[in-house]
């Protein structure tokens, strides 16, 4: 019997913390669980950039990844470990809804857990927020923490 895996989306917000707390509680209840915390840096291969931005892109990418680790992901992983959970952290670039679902597929996860941030701004009203799109396209059950 393989471990039950939860993929948790975090972004340094309270909503993300609530999602992690829920995942930890579920993991204890189910037992023999692995939690993967994922921080997604919003990025699109179809944006427009200046030549100078292109030149520095690789450097910036490394900086973004290390900052995501040091500011958000690593503290969250350390905290969760203190609570006795088996937990790992991962940083990826892309669209949050797509990345979380891809990761869930990759890890054969039982479910995806995300916090609800609410609808902000016109763009999200028209196209839906990350959570909305995740629910619409996910291939595993999604739990949304209010």
């Amino acid at each position: 019997m393989s471990k039950t895996t939860f993929v948790v989306g975090i972004d340094g917000s309270d909503a993300g913390e609530r999602a992690v707390a829920f995942a930890k509680a579920r993991a204890k209840a189910v037992g023999d669980c692995a939690i993967t915390l994922c921080y997604v840096i919003e990025w699109s291969p179809f944006s427009f950039q200046t030549p100078e931005e292109n030149e520095q892109r690789h450097k910036r990418r490394e900086e973004e990844i290390s900052m995501a680790h040091s500011r958000v992901l690593d503290p969250a992983v350390t905290d969760a470990k203190k609570d006795g959970c088996e937990v790992s952290g991962i940083v990826r670039h892309g669209d949050a809804a797509e990345i979380l679902d891809d990761l869930a597929k990759e890890l054969d996860a039982a479910q995806i857990i995300v916090g609800r941030v609410g609808i902000r701004g016109l763009k999200e009203r028209v196209f839906g927020g990350v959570t909305g799109r995740l629910v619409a396209s996910a291939s595993v059950p999604v739990t949304i923490i209010p």
Binding site: I41, W43, P45, F46, S47, F48, Q49, T50, P51, E52, E53, N54, E55, Q56, R57, H58, K59, R61, E62, E64, I65, R92, H93, G94, D102
Partner: protein, 517 residues
Amino acid sequence: MKKLFPAASLVTLAPVTAAAQEMSIDDRVNQVFASSTGWFVNLIFSPLPFQIAGSDFPWIVMWLVIGATVFTIYFGLIQLRAFGHAISLVKGDYSDPKDAGEVSHFQALTTALSGTVGLGNIAGVAVAVGIGGPGATFWMILAGLLGMASKFTECTLGVKYRNEYPDGTVSGGPMYYMVKGFKERNLPGGGILAIFFSIFCILGALGGGNMFQANQAHAQISGIVGDYPGWITGVIFAIVVFLVIVGGIKSIASVTEKVVPFMGIMYVGVALVILLVNYDKIGWAFGQIWAGAFTGLGVAGGFVGALIQGFKRAAFSNEAGVGSAAIAHSAVRTKEPVTEGVVSLLEPFIDTVVICTMTALVITISGVLVVDPDTGLFVLNEAGTAIQTVDGSSGVQLTSAAFATGFSWFPYVLAIAVVLFAFSTMISWSYYGLKAWTYLFGEGKTKELVFKLIFCVFIVIGAAAQLGAVIDFSDAMIFAMAVVNITALYFLMPVVKREMNSYFERLKTGEIVKHKH
């Protein structure tokens, strides 16, 4: 490239309000500059020693077209064979998800495109069709298709021989493949070529990529709001460019980078709507293009006149063989340099075959060119040098008039587009110039700042002064880049062929696979 009008018309476009004393300073600068650099300008733009069907043929146009033809044959029509693959690459079908967050093929392509799409597509085409008739379009498309092979060659080399620094940044371009590529093949002279290329590139960036743009942008703005001193436009442009390239204000750059593609798409969209409304004339227009390509339909210089105009404007517009695109494309982090070459061959296609052709079709269909109803031939103007137009306009005004037959408000949008295109071209060329500068003088914050400040000062000079000779000189510099660059490409093309064969072999055997399904 955005060379549109000969220097003479720039003089008339420059502000007429300049004080008499300033005029004399301008004149003096002009004179000194012309007498010391005129020989170089004449050398670059001089015609071949013989006339073709009674017309002068500038050797530099021949140089670019022969280069493009050689690469087309040498790489076995790569522009046709790899076209579908180029689109797959841009869509990201072959991008490794692990590389997400790096510069994508799409981003490299659009960055390079924003440096080339601009005034050349709008006004340059009008000049070509105005002088050479619709038949010029045929030769323009042909030159665009051939130019795809030149871009493929230079961009593949640009990525293969770029420098990668420990901090993760990259520098690439013709000067790097000249030095490293020649060394690898045990050929002498790479270093000298690189120095010549860098000098031409710096001067070209300050001229064609800067002063000329500022001058044309000012002409457009003052055409709408009325005449005012050019230095005002120059200072505003210089401040905005300063904020972007020195201040690192990304938001301004990213706004332009987003608006410019939108402007380009809108331009093509409006052209398509005009063509759809006149769908019954499209067949006739292509008939005119075809017939004009081989008979001239009465234009000055006959079909050779049409051919020269078409070739010249295509070369001026898409920069194939100049080497600038090789600098822009080298930032992509790919294991396969060939993929970047393949992606770059879309540039002349989009720039010349699509956008320039749209302009030419709209001008042809709109009926702004006067045709003799009895003979079906074009009526020439009094001087006999160009086709007579309905309102006597030429260049960007002709394009504007042709589009206005479909949408009366279009000239205003066009003016905004010209200003934005000029700005994005300046940003792109400030980078190309900087790369050549750091190649010559070394990398370093102070050295880079010196170039950026010089660049900003030249914006004000370009917008304010009537420096026709300076602008002619800097245009000549951009073509001088092509002389050095294509020479290097001839020596290095076996390297590209090896890379190309190996890549397509692995693609065929399935060693290189799509990541997306």
